[in-house]
């Protein structure tokens, strides 16, 4: 794994842990100055752990990124800056000001933040709080910025990081394929629109992609489990769908994550975000609207075959409209599997399981099906597409890695 990816994942996870810590301390009634000190200590501790415990393990004999790779990062960043300029709206999309930034405004008030849980009408106070707490922290540091400025910064940064993670992880395997993958994503108007919408879906997509890359690019060991767990914990703390993704990720990779006492490292990695999530769901948040309205009668919808057709058609239309490149990636991947006479990898099956889980959420949804699909299906696909793109390309190319030999790989062996 390129060291640059470790820096990126560590920074993302530190932000996620900072947001969880903020919520826990807010709930404990700690004053603002105490919260600030705690977060600074967390940042310093994270930096120390990275420098002293993580980087020495992954030190390369020949480490620096190539100039071409660096230029690629620069080009990706510049393209996203230019593309995003024409999609700016003052307050983001509906979910930004009706849900995420609304929660941030409450969380930025150290005294009256619990008012947010009363907003059950046209609001979702049960949603996890990673993105709103990060906006709230920045808003308290710089009140004149409000919550929209940090929310926009975070949203665009996550969107660029998805592309950079794809580029850095696939570049060693193939320049052409990695460039095509990044181009396919960034050329999507839908992706750029979502990058500036200040929603939480791209954040979830980024953490989920990072979790998969941690698992696949690092050799078996504590570091692999720790980074994966950090990202999975942040998935849970980002959106309700993140809980489903985290659960399936853990189940499909349980041998790697939990056996041989690695469960200790796994629990360590998810501890803080999971604690914050449990506190939110167990003490403060009202029931999720889907869960609340679900009844035994909803199970009868499993036998309503027309629903399956409607959902399938809508998802197919969504993929065609916003993620057309994935059709070819999936077809080519299946052909490669057929040619090599190999089943898809566990991670590919996991992603299929995530799609199936989302599918059955719609089958069982107590809400009007068409309304539910129109308002959410595209964003659910967005959460999975970067990871799916990476896994299918990575599996399709195989273990042909054009990287220099170094102590790290010669010691642990190359595992894809």
């Amino acid at each position: 794994m390129p060291t640059a990816i470790i820096y990126i994942i560590w920074a993302m996870a530190t932000a996620g842990w900072g947001s969880a810590l903020y919520f826990l301390l807010l709930a404990a009634g700690i004053p603002g100055i105490g919260i600030a000190v705690a977060i600074v200590l967390l940042l310093m501790g994270g930096l120390y752990y990275l420098q002293k415990k993580i980087l020495p393990i992954v030190s390369f004999v020949i480490s620096p990124l190539s100039t071409l790779t660096m230029v690629g990062v620069g080009v990706i960043s510049w393209v996203m800056v230019v593309s995003s300029a024409s999609h700016i709206t003052s307050y983001g999309g509906w979910d930004a000001w009706a849900i995420w930034n609304l929660q941030a405004k409450y969380l930025a008030d150290g005294t009256h933040w619990q008012n947010m849980f009363l907003n059950t009408r046209h609001g979702h106070p049960d949603y996890p709080l990673l993105v709103p707490t990060i906006s709230a922290i920045c808003s308290r540091l710089v009140p004149s910025a409000g919550v929209e400025v940090p929310a926009f910064f975070w949203s665009v940064a996550m969107a660029i990081l998805v592309l950079v993670l794809l580029w850095l992880s696939l570049r060693p395997k193939s320049l052409l394929v990695s460039a095509w993958a990044v181009y396919s994503v960034v050329a999507s108007q839908y992706y750029v629109t979502q990058a500036t919408a200040m929603y939480a879906d791209i954040t979830l997509a980024c953490f989920f992609l990072a979790a998969i890359q941690s698992l696949r690019l690092l050799p078996a060991g504590n570091l692999q489990v720790l980074l994966s767990a950090l990202c999975i914990g942040c998935c849970v703390w980002t959106k309700n769908e993140g809980t489903i993704l985290a659960g399936l990720f853990t189940v499909f990779h349980c041998r790697t994550l939990l056996l041989q006492k690695r469960w200790v490292m796994f629990l360590s990695g998810i501890s803080l975000p999971l604690t914050a999530w449990c506190l939110l769901k167990g003490v403060y948040a009202p029931a999720n609207d889907l869960a609340h309205n679900f009844s035994v009668a909803s199970l009868q919808q499993l036998m309503q075959w027309a629903r399956y057709g409607i959902i399938w058609q809508h998802m197919a239309d969504t993929v065609n409209a916003h993620f057309g490149y994935m059709r070819w990636v999936i077809v080519l991947y299946l052909l490669v599997c057929l040619f090599r006479k190999r089943w898809p990898t566990a991670t590919a099956w996991m992603l299929a399981g995530c799609m199936a889980a989302y599918f059955f959420i719609y089958v069982l949804s107590p809400m009007d099906l068409n309304w539910h699909l129109v308002t959410s299906a595209d964003r659910l696909m967005l959460q999975l597409m970067p990871a799916l793109l990476y896994v299918l390309i990575d599996d399709g190319i195989g273990n042909k890695i054009a990287m220099p030999q170094n102590i790290f790989f010669s010691r642990f062996g190359m595992n894809g």
């Binding site: 996203m80 300029a85 665009v156």
Partner: protein
């Protein structure tokens, strides 16, 4: 140090994009939230932080409610008049005017009012 550069480049790019966002916000007046933010300018000084007040608007319009709720957060706006609150925020769309809302305003003590882009805003309290 070179390995940190990708992260720093991304953060720099996000900052540049955010600078564009800040600049764009100054020029735009394109959204419902911005409209009601301007209409409700000045009401905050009549509302203590964390107040719970009721909310009534023409046709019980959900986007209007959501936008006003966002503008006034962390004040809590109780949807419709279901809350046993002393204070109400009334947002009346002039084109689709509701006489009952006008009667409600007339029968309460008026704390604050404003008019902006086709909307009348009233902060009223029980006599």
């Amino acid at each position: 140090m070179r390995n940190v550069l990708p992260l720093l480049l991304v953060l720099l790019a996000a900052m540049v994009a955010t600078a564009g966002f800040i600049d764009g916000r100054k020029k735009g007046n394109d959204q419902l939230v911005l409209q009601h933010s301007t209409g409700l300018a000045g009401v905050q000084k009549y509302l203590p932080a964390g107040a719970h007040i009721g909310f009534v608007c023409t046709r019980n319009d959900a986007p209007t409610y959501a936008a006003c709720r966002y503008v006034l957060a962390p004040v809590y706006l109780g949807y419709r008049v279901s809350l046993p609150t002393d204070t109400l925020l009334v947002v009346n769309e002039r084109e689709n005017g509701d006489s009952l809302m006008q009667q409600m305003v007339a029968s309460h003590k008026l704390l604050w009012q404003n008019t902006y882009l086709g909307y009348n805003y009233y902060l009223i309290a029980k006599q």
